[in-house]
Symmetry: C2
Subunit: 331 residues, 2 copies
DNA sequence: CTGAAAGCGCTAACAG
DNA sequence: CTGTTAGCGCTTTCAG
């Protein structure tokens, strides 16, 4: 910048004014400065700037998700990026693999880089870093999962209602012997979905003794093996509610292997690509990850703009998509 | 940091030494400093540090891909992140939507943030920013697509050989009336795949007049419509080589709609989730995006560590996965 | 409209 | 083993 000022024959502050498009610069002075900038191929150093800038803003956001290559997470990522771009903000992304230790480390790494805000899918039972961030006035919004603490912003799918919808749909098609296949219940979304499952059973007067629940599933292989076991039992379920993406895939594989894909009904939580191309098409309760990401970053930017708002829990509705597998009756 | 030094009763430089784990600090001094750090919930400001640090390293990397929510790109992203984590480096990601203007802007945004290196899927015919980055000594590695300029690092799939393998596979199963469905040929990967297609035809002595080529396809809808047209023609193809992900999906939809999924062979370029669950399973030439991301970031870090290496073009092999659709004979 | 001076939080270089 | 000084590139403040 010094060099640009020298070449343009102006003071360093004038260069600063020009490049930041501040007012009070004569048009021809500005032109001379732009020319020098181009001639020297100069690029502003925002890092140095944020050192002195009021509020120390770095125009940077941190996004923490289960994994950047998970479709649900990467759609959130895209939404956050789109929103950030409108504000001239760049996005750091980090994968947590549902590991609380990794979460702490990743948050610390972002704190050291002085991000302006944090959007995150927490994996921890407790968010110790909240004191550091809150103390610094850094806005934090939780997505997909809610933290233990209550006075924070969060944007999550309506897991409980969605699961109830899925289960009620199966009941409406005549099923009673329904199996729930789900993740580790310490994960908040899994617990909510289980609650929704039982909500719908209760509303229909189906006793818990008639259904089967398998928990602690987290990948397709485990889920496939679990369902294979159920199918081989004396009283196999006539319908499955699979409470997560990968679990649904395992379910489909197990049904296919047993030749039962047209005789056992399936509704999955969370949509996935090609669900409609399978035979039968897979009925799902779809989430809206783009909307979740959008709402989360809009909230961050609202806080950054100085607006004082009460912490809020935003529930994003889910949508049942009927494709065939959920409309099969009990055999 | 000043405050930490005061609280611990040491000089500011000692705090710097402790937090950066530099040698030559007495154990009990270090302990006192750590305690103060914890008490004040202090987090180092890396931005300020990089201002003075030798080489001005920010421990930050920029990743530019078509879109962060594209599965191929997000697998690369994950690989880069894993590699970066080992080096204590954070990753900025940005989506380009194959828009050259957006590419320029995104690179400029990363330059302003002084990233240590850039990994990118270029969409531009020319990379004007290369002079800025190279001049600054910033390492750049291209992935998936190669730039116009030659003296740069790149890591790409062996598109030509992969396409030839796919085509030869169809020929081996008795097909001659094969259709190529592909993207805009100005995209370098599409052009390479078309070359591979003709390589295999040439090797088998099949004249170009026997095959059909449809280009400028970029989404599933367009591809579905295009194939519907071909199937309705007097001499429909007996086999399809679909040169890209979304195009393959359109192909599958068109075949399904026409009830031809068991009579027309298909090989797709690029694997996708659930390809094995469809009926018939979809034979593909799979790429290895994780490996591409790994190799690219390892090259960045090798350059950052000061190693001087010749710019190199790394070709990552593809792999044919037979699942059924590619093994159907001509009817 | 323009510029000079101070200082953001840190690390390099050097002195003790 | 420890502390002092200077200065990274910028923005703020204030004086012309």
């Amino acid at each position: 910048m010094k060099h640009v000022a020298a070449l343009a024959g102006v003071g360093i502050k004038t260069v600063s004014r020009v490049i930041n498009e501040e007012p009070n610069v004569a048009p021809d002075t500005a032109a001379r400065v732009w020319e020098a900038i181009r001639a020297l191929d100069y690029h502003l150093d925002m890092q140095a700037g944020s050192l002195r800038r009021a509020g120390g803003r770095t125009h940077t956001l941190g996004l923490l998700v289960s994994s950047v290559d998970n479709p649900f997470a990467s759609t959130i990522h895209r939404a956050v990026e789109d929103s950030a771009l409108e504000h001239g903000v760049a996005v750091f992304a980090s994968s947590l693999d549902d590991d609380p230790e990794r979460e702490d480390k990743a948050v610390a790494a972002f704190l050291r880089r002085r991000v302006d805000g944090l959007i995150l899918t927490t994996a921890s039972p407790a968010q110790n870093y909240l004191s550091s961030t809150a103390g610094r006035g850094m806005p934090v919004v939780f997505v997909d999962r809610e933290p233990a603490s209550t006075a924070v912003d969060s944007v999550v799918s309506d897991n409980r209602a969605g699961a109830a919808t899925a289960t009620a749909h199966l009941i409406r098609h005549g099923h009673r012997r329904i199996a729930l296949l789900t993740d580790r219940l310490r994960i908040q979304t899994a617990a909510e979905r289980q609650r929704g499952f039982f909500d719908a059973l209760g509303a229909a007067g189906i006793p818990a003794s008639e259904v089967q629940v398998v928990t602690d599933l987290y990948d397709a292989d485990g889920s496939e093996a679990a369902l294979a076991g159920l199918l081989a039992s004396p009283e196999p379920p006539t319908a499955i509610f699979s409470a997560q993406n990968l679990i649904t895939i395992g379910v489909l594989r197990a049904l296919r292997a047993a030749g039962r894909e047209r005789s056992v009904a399936v509704v999955g939580f969370d949509d996935f690509p090609l669900a409609g191309l399978l035979d039968p098409g897979v009925t799902v309760v779809a989430q809206d990850p783009y909307r979740i990401g959008r709402l989360a970053s809009e909230r961050i930017f609202r806080r950054l703009s100085g607006e004082v708002v009460e912490p809020e829990r935003v529930l994003v509705p889910t949508r049942l998509i009927e494709r065939g597998s959920g409309e099969l009756g009990p055999s």
